[in-house]
């Protein structure tokens, strides 16, 4: 695990490339508790970013602010050129462009896999059912479970459910995908099948923001790794340098905890 893999696709976009997601001086409080402190982050189109950090450091909160599952109280968040405001129409529009995969999958248990996948395209995008189903089957094939389309989520394994959740998000043809620890609720033998799907997605050029502690994944696909601690972005770097030459003490401590046994 400790030998750095040759970083995979490392075509880091030039700095001033079009920003897909941009956070400028974002602050957030839960009551009195200052969870996010002055977050500045630019994700260029096609860029893949891995966010890591100790538990409670605000990783989930940060990516959940991007699609307004949490509200930030100061600063600006711009998604694909549209600033997030409290306007409901605006929020719904941004959400339909931003896919999100949760730690606990959150599939809709009363709908079949296929129905889970066509729900949002049909009701948000107004895609006709037949066409939505065709798209859904394409994505189910991409996550390698087309044969499960007629089953209910409760009849699938965790790894299969998470792949359905990824397909469900992709069916909306999002411009960015957010992942919040997509593999940490899975048994070890299922982690790989989900990561493989995510690597495939990265290779297809999707803009991705992943909270994960899968360092192998970070080394293979990430353009940048971001380390958060106590609500701040402490360090960010290309994966190679991030893992071999961490600059901050806190990063070194964190890496030694998750990499060294």
């Amino acid at each position: 695990m400790s030998t750095p893999l040759a970083a995979g696709p490392t075509a880091t976009p030039a700095a001033p490339a079009e920003a897909m997601v941009e956070l400028q001086e974002v602050h957030k409080w839960y009551d009195q508790f200052h969870v996010l402190r002055n977050i500045n982050l630019r994700v260029a189109r096609g860029e893949r970013i891995v966010v890591c950090g100790p538990s409670g450091s605000g990783k989930s909160t940060m990516i959940r602010c991007i699609n307004r599952l949490e509200e930030h109280q100061r600063g600006r968040i711009v998604v694909d050129g549209v600033e997030l405001t409290s306007d409901v129409k605006n929020i719904e529009r941004i959400r339909s462009e931003v896919g999100m995969v949760f730690q606990h999958f959150n599939l809709f248990p009363h709908l079949t896999v296929l129905e889970n996948c066509v729900l949002a395209p049909m009701w948000v995008r107004k895609t006709p059912r037949r066409q939505a189903e065709e798209t859904a089957m394409e994505y189910l094939e991409r996550v390698r479970i087309p044969e499960q389309a007629r089953k209910y989520p409760g009849q699938l394994s965790g790894g299969q459910q998470q792949r359905v959740a990824i397909a469900r998000s992709l069916c909306m043809r999002p411009k960015v995908m957010l992942f919040d620890e997509p593999t940490s609720a899975l048994d070890p033998e299922m982690i790989k099948e989900v990561l493989d799907v995510m690597v495939g997605l990265a290779e297809s050029g999707m803009t991705m923001l992943c909270v994960t502690h899968e360092m192998g994944f970070a080394k293979t696909v990430a353009n940048r790794v971001i380390f958060m601690d106590r609500g701040e972005i402490v360090e960010e770097n290309e994966p190679e340098a991030f893992f071999t030459h961490p600059r901050q003490e806190r990063t070194k401590l964190f890496l030694s905890q998750i990499l060294g046994h």
């Binding site: 699609n67 599952l69 409901v88 719904e92 529009r93 959400r95 339909s96 931003v98 896919g99 999100m100 949760f102 606990h104 959150n106 599939l107 809709f108 248990p109 009363h110 729900l119 949002a120 009701w123 948000v124 209910y152 989520p153 409760g154 009849q155 959740a165 469900r168 998000s169 909306m172």
Partner: protein, 366 residues
């Protein structure tokens, strides 16, 4: 290596299987259970044979007047003679085909909804909810299209019970859902407070008071000459009252839905109403089917309280018949008949809910 010979199949010990085994395991597995079983058998012996003798063996079934009854057993002649009134109340005999048509239409619309492979269910459901009430209303009330006007004070019997129960259920469920959603709208404090106030107010008073107020008190507050139908007032009272109960049942279901479901729906771009209707409610309502049916059954039986404001539903018309001087002394038959009719409907609802729960089970863990 020599194969180990297989042990032969043996029959299970007789005491563990068959009727005897069942009896021993379920009725006599301890001295206390044995004693309770014997006691129960004795009580059944005391109650059942005399009832069967009264209700069936010694009962009188045919005739037209009280004199045709020997009084040794039940006098079902009384029920037979009054059956028309128990079903239609005072609805004019010549117009009763209208009630029948309404019922037949209802059955014709509802039955296909239960056929598994029927394709037009959504349309049929929409027609049932939107068109049918209008048609049924005009058929029953009349006054146009050459149909004689039948005042609601003439309605009665089981058909009136069904009207109140069905209108009550169809109105209470959606109203209850809206109230439950309103009560959970923490970001809209005024709406929330209104819903809480409504629910607590209606849950805090007995239905009988509501009905009484609607028929006796309300006219005092309405301007002179403005008076709307007594049945309509009872219907509104029943619907609002049951909606308050329904709201709490539905709220229980909403609370059982994990936060992740709301978030996943929102993250896909579904707005509040769409995520509520497509994702949350189907799960929440399924979770509380037993509670919903419980409320429906209570509602069905509560309809008998409209007696208090002078509407003659099934129970009301039976009681009216009991006080007929030609038929004095047959009230037991009347009440037994009423109990049977109510039981059939309530038991039917209960069975339906169990079937529905099984059908909607999608094998997900929770």
């Amino acid at each position: 290596m020599a194969a180990v010979p297989r042990q032969p199949d043996l029959p299970p010990p007789a005491a563990a299987t068959g009727a005897l085994g069942w009896v021993r395991r379920n009725l006599f597995d301890s001295p206390l259970n044995g004693a309770l079983t014997l006691l129960a058998v004795y009580l059944l012996y005391l109650v059942v044979p005399p009832f069967v003798e009264w209700a069936i063996l010694k009962a009188d079934w045919s005739g037209t007047t009280a004199k045709d009854c020997s009084r040794a057993g039940a006098c079902w002649v009384f029920i037979g003679v009054r059956l028309n009134q128990f079903f239609y109340g005072f609805y004019p005999v010549a117009e009763q085909w209208r009630v029948n048509t309404c019922l037949a239409l209802l059955v014709a619309f509802v039955v296909p909804l239960f056929i598994k492979r029927f394709a037009l269910k959504q349309w049929l459901g929409a027609v049932l909810l939107v068109v049918y009430p209008v048609v049924a209303f005009h058929l029953l009330v009349g006054g146009h299209f050459g149909l004689a006007h039948v005042e609601t004070s003439k309605w009665g019997g089981l058909s009136l019970t069904l009207v109140i129960a069905i209108v009550g259920m169809v109105a209470a469920l959606p109203l209850g859902i809206l109230l439950a959603l309103g009560r959970r709208a923490t970001n809209m404090p005024v709406l929330k407070a209104l819903c809480v106030a409504f629910i607590e107010l209606w849950r805090g008073v007995p239905l009988i008071t509501v009905l009484f107020m609607s028929s006796v008190m309300l006219p005092f507050f309405l301007p002179e000459g403005m008076n709307f139908d007594k049945l309509l007032r009872a219907l509104i009272g029943v619907a609002l009252f049951e909606a308050a109960y329904m709201a709490e049942v539905v709220r229980g279901g909403l609370q059982g839905i994990p936060k992740g479901q709301f978030e996943a729906a929102a993250a896909l771009g579904l707005g509040f109403w769409r995520s509520t209707i497509l994702v949350i409610l189907p799960q929440a309502l399924k979770l509380v089917i037993p509670g919903i049916v419980n409320t429906f059954i209570a509602l069905f039986k509560d309809t008998s309280l409209v007696l208090i404001i002078g509407l003659f539903d099934l129970l009301g018309s039976i009681q009216a018949a009991n006080s007929d001087t030609n038929w004095l002394g047959f009230s037991t038959e009347g009440y037994v008949f009423a109990a049977c009719v109510y039981w059939v409907f309530c038991f039917g609802m209960s069975r339906y809910s169990q079937w529905l729960e099984r059908k909607l089970h999608t094998g997900h863990r929770r």
